[in-house]
């Protein structure tokens, strides 16, 4: 789990609107904090699919799963099992 979280944080730090000064809690909303927009999320999902060799069905493209670090970690864990 920690490893997945590290991957995600590294991606966000490099590719999103987040900068090194941003304080981000696991449950914070990525869209409300302006860290990711719609195109950013699509690209992020492409990255996750490739990195973990998973497919994410569109029913799972919800805020519960993709608007926070904890949601994303959960969904990756579920799909890689």
């Amino acid at each position: 789990m920690e490893e997945i979280k590290e991957d995600i944080m590294a991606y966000l730090q490099n590719k999103s609107f987040m900068d090194s000064g941003t304080q981000l809690n696991d449950d914070d909303s990525l869209t409300m904090k302006g860290i990711i927009d719609s195109i950013g999320l699509i690209e992020f999902i492409d990255f996750i699919c490739e990195k973990y060799s998973i497919e994410i069905p569109e029913e799972l493209l919800t805020p519960e799963n993709f608007d926070s670090i904890s949601g994303i970690v959960n969904v990756i864990q579920k799909l890689t099992k």
């Binding site: 609107f17 927009d37 719609s38 195109i39 999320l41 699509i42 569109e58 493209l61």
Partner: protein, 492 residues
């Protein structure tokens, strides 16, 4: 008439009919009309003053906009995707004293941001309205001015396009005619309402007495659900369709009952059209062309001609004349390239506080689009690039020289060049080529861009170069930049 008066009319004639939907919320024309009145009551004593509207896409945004119209004031919608510094620039350059703000945007920027306004009207999550502060300051505005709209691709000091009631209503009616919108139509609004295209959805649907279902494009599960819930007209820019088509089975399911897919903002590639047709062969596809300066639309390509003339912008919408002229502003014959010009009651009043730009844009009642075009023998028009160096990035018109200047002025670099590059979803994105100084740090540049530019302008890559060979004329042009970029990439 004003746009909000149509809402009042529908509220009287068909009070129970649904006007707006958002997630699980749905309001009728009569409730919409009452909500507009509630905000109007707070600002009715202002006399033709500018009100910034700072609200995310949603029912409250439309209510606030219509209340500003109803109180005979002037709406200045702030594009919420812009960064705080860009929004500041819009506010500061136009001396805006009054603001209507939603709870969400208020908490985003905090108390200090709003201290500069003498009037603050606050809309909370439950749609209730509160006046936090109020002082009526006399303003001297253009008599016809109703709405100031910002083009979507601007950075630095953006130009505000001044539009009148007549502009808004004329364009709404032309769009209603071209798309055959009826009160039965439910439109999906998943694109930003703060710019011309999204704004035109609001106007044409509400003038026609139809309804709007408001949502977003971020979490696609809900986007597909929204479309599936009885939407008959879907509006999107090409990148909207590219994103949705990534999930063909959901697209097929949710678009089953959509009768019309309308697009604007950029050319609909044959590929997109074919994919949509494969998934729903009954859907009508109508690409449209326009500019913020034309309120929204100027021309459309009838769906019957989509296959025959896929690379054209079709013909003018009702009430608009288009022509092509040479450098001395004389019309040219069909097949000859010149600048596309447009005339009609949807053409802007002018740019806010920028008479020089207005004089260049409108000459003898004709608006100069800046697009190079040819007239075809059948009366259709074909676009052939820009007269200036503007480029399309993510379906926004962007001035690369302006972006370069903005980055260059605020960073430790010797020179910056913006390169348009292909992007899977956006069509075009940008990369930067930078001639560094000793103190240039690539990471700092990325951070600057993320903080100060809208998302679609954040560079995919930043490449350091030693120099840029100038063209013979000694000018920087998109062509010389792209050539150098290809050179650099080939040698990497």
């Amino acid at each position: 008439m004003r746009i909000d008066e149509y809402i009042a009319k529908h509220a009287k004639e068909t009070p129970q009919k649904t006007a707006l939907e958002e997630k699980d919320k749905s309001i009728s024309y009569s409730l919409l009309d009452e909500a507009i009145n509630a905000i109007t009551a707070e600002i009715d004593d202002f006399n033709h003053c500018k009100f910034a509207i700072f609200a995310e896409s949603g029912i409250e945004y439309i209510q606030a906009l219509m209340a500003v119209y109803r109180s005979d004031n002037i709406a200045v919608p702030l594009p919420v995707e812009l960064t705080e510094s860009n929004i500041r620039q819009i506010l500061d350059s136009n001396q805006i004293n009054s603001i209507i703000v939603t709870d969400q945007q208020y908490s985003r920027f905090g108390n200090a941001f709003f201290e500069g306004f003498t009037t603050v009207i606050y809309i909370s999550k439950d749609s209730s309205v509160k006046t936090l502060r109020k002082e009526i300051i006399r303003e001297n505005n253009n008599d016809l001015l109703r709405l100031v709209m910002y083009t979507s691709g601007t950075t630095g000091a953006p130009k505000g396009v001044m539009l009148s009631d007549e502009n808004l209503i004329t364009n709404a009616n032309s769009i209603i005619e071209v798309l055959s919108i009826t009160p039965k139509d439910k439109a999906a609004q998943v694109i930003s309402p703060h710019h011309a295209f999204g704004n035109s959805i609001i106007n044409s649907q509400l003038v026609a007495g139809g309804s709007i279902k408001i949502g977003g494009l971020t979490f696609l599960e809900s986007t597909f659900k929204l479309v599936e819930s009885g939407v008959t007209i879907f509006y999107g820019v090409p990148s909207t369709y590219r994103i949705l088509l990534k999930y063909p089975s959901s697209f097929q399911r949710s678009f089953r009952n959509v009768r019309l897919a309308a697009s604007a903002g950029g050319a609909m590639e044959v590929e997109i059209v074919e994919k949509i047709k494969q998934l729903n062969d009954r859907i009508e596809i109508i690409p449209m062309y326009g500019q913020t300066e034309a309120t929204a639309r100027l021309s459309y390509l009838p769906s019957a001609d989509l296959e025959k003339y896929p690379d054209t912008i079709g013909k003018p919408i009702p009430g608009v004349e288009l022509d092509v002229v040479d450098d001395s502003k004389k019309p040219v014959a069909s097949g000859i390239t010149g600048e596309l010009i447009a005339r009609g009651k949807n053409i802007l009043i002018g740019y806010l506080n920028d008479e020089e730009a207005t004089r260049k844009k409108i000459v003898n009642d004709w608006m100069y689009t800046g697009d190079l075009a040819q007239k075809l023998p059948n009366g259709y028009f074909k676009l052939l690039g820009r007269k200036d160096d503007l480029i399309k990035v993510a379906d926004h018109r962007v001035n690369p020289r302006e972006v370069e200047k903005y980055i260059g002025k605020n960073n430790e670099v010797s020179d910056v060049f913006v390169v348009p590059v292909d992007h899977e979803y956006l069509g075009n994105a940008i990369s930067l080529m930078v001639i560094p100084t000793q103190d240039t740090e690539v990471e700092t540049l990325y951070t600057f861009c993320r903080k100060n530019l809208p998302g679609f302008l954040c560079p995919l890559e930043i490449i350091l170069i030693e120099n840029l060979p100038l063209s013979k004329s000694g000018k920087i042009s998109n062509r010389s930049i792209i050539e150098e970029y290809q050179n650099v990439k080939a040698n990497m």
